[in-house]
Symmetry: C2
Subunit: 249 residues, 2 copies
DNA sequence: ACAGGTTAGTGTTGTTCTTACGCCGATTTG
DNA sequence: CAAATCGGCGTAAGAACAACACTAACCTGT
């Protein structure tokens, strides 16, 4: 690095943590690196930001190039800029997380063969990823679990029509706690954020469940009035923690 | 911009939104710019990140150079990177917010004369600041009001010894809602996060109040056990909002 | 056609949390 | 010693939450 130009010997990238939900558990979309550094390791999809491109635009671009999806939920989470996080130079990265319906996704997936895969989030967090992507994943996962309590983002992960049981399983996966069926249904229906489609599941080997749709319009209305969705931590779990803390004190 | 080097014709900076609390209202520390661009306008303190400096380090440096304070609360909030946010080139900025006790601060302030000042947050938000600093301030203020519900960060803004009334006023300023005195005291004391110092205010023209201290150790203990502090939006306010939303529906 | 398997759907009660609310006491000042 | 100011305290009614178990609907295989 030499002289006054030092400040410009640096670059920035975006990295996306793309979450999906399938078969009752939470997944993240990873790419297997085919070049050095970290050749052969799994990594989060990302790219350098073009010189005349906004950050959000870059994040959407990366997402679309990879999945073919537009108009998906995307949110900036944190910027990682440790001096040595990239072996080839000073590159800071802005991390985004994104929520996609796996059902919408299938399209492009085939073309990438084994280079792109959905991975279970929990096990991925225990595996070594390229760069500082473990830290990024963890950070974004935490952000997701926060967000889901405050905004009904969970719906972004489900197909357009879903059953209450599916919704409950999603929340259980995200919140990592079991919920009571009756209480969950009461609460979620009382928000008036679901539209009862008066349609039923088909082809299931048991009593078919009613299908619902998220009432986005209604949500935006409530949101516009500063009204906030909230899923609190259960009192039960809270008590356990308080007890544990007291015991250790 | 020419050729492959384009990606490196860019720089990144940090900007700090430094909050303080005084005389019952929330303030932010601003610097009056003495050079172009935006000469004469107020701006958030910030600087380019050195080539071999971590982002957080840079933010701490800016804060310390300005206030002389170390070990203050500092948190990364959001990165702003619109292509044209800086008139002289592509500069993205990582915004941090910071909480300082105004009483600790006095030190360095004098040397800056009129270039550095505490400004009331509400009125600042209605004034034009340099660059995109209005957006940054707004974003950080929102982040602060979120954080204060989840973590007892408010204490960072108060002097080491404070009365319950002072604490209540702080919360009222941050949450922008009035709180009931008795209920507030009950709740806050029940958290066991305050140490009763058995000392009293002096020199006040009325009955002196008891002084308390934040029990940081205890908080860290609870936090380590995953226990989270929570100040919810009051049901009263919530109802008002719901009603407003319903009416408009 | 019917028995067995599987998931859907539904109400009530006890407990806890939240809210609303008003008065006396301590201290300083003139 | 009177007036002004803020500090400190408790209870009762209502709302939200947690716990809990059975019947209904549909499919499958015999």
């Amino acid at each position: 690095m030499n002289g006054e130009n030092n400040f410009f010997k640096s670059a920035f990238s975006v990295d996306n943590v793309i979450f999906g939900f399938d078969e009752g558990d939470l997944k993240v979309l990873l790419i297997k690196r085919g070049t050095d550094p970290y050749n052969g390791l799994w990594a989060l999809p990302g790219d350098l930001v073009y010189p005349n491109e906004d950050l959000d635009t870059a994040a959407y671009r990366v997402l679309e190039e990879l999945t073919g999806l537009k108009n998906v939920y995307l949110e900036q989470v944190h910027t990682f800029g440790a001096v040595n996080r990239h072996p080839l130079g000073r590159v800071i990265t802005i991390a985004y997380f994104s929520l996609v319906k796996i059902s919408d996704f299938a399209l492009k997936a085939a073309s990438f063969a084994q280079n792109v895969e959905w991975h279970n989030v929990e096990s991925t967090m225990k595996t070594e990823l390229a760069f500082d992507h473990n830290a990024i994943l963890e950070n974004c996962f935490n952000a997701l679990t926060q967000r889901v309590r405050i905004r009904p983002v969970g719906f972004e992960l489900l197909p357009p029509k879903f059953t209450l049981t599916e919704l409950q399983h999603l929340y259980e996966a995200l919140l990592r706690e079991e919920l009571d069926k009756r209480n969950f249904r009461k609460k979620i229906l009382s928000t008036s954020l679901l539209i009862d489609l008066d349609q039923f599941q088909e082809g299931v080997p048991h009593r078919p469940a009613k299908l619902y749709q998220f009432n986005k319009q209604r949500y935006q209305q409530l949101e516009a009035h500063g009204f906030s969705f909230e899923v609190k931590e259960s009192k039960k779990k809270e008590k356990k923690k308080r007890l544990a803390a007291l015991i250790s004190a």
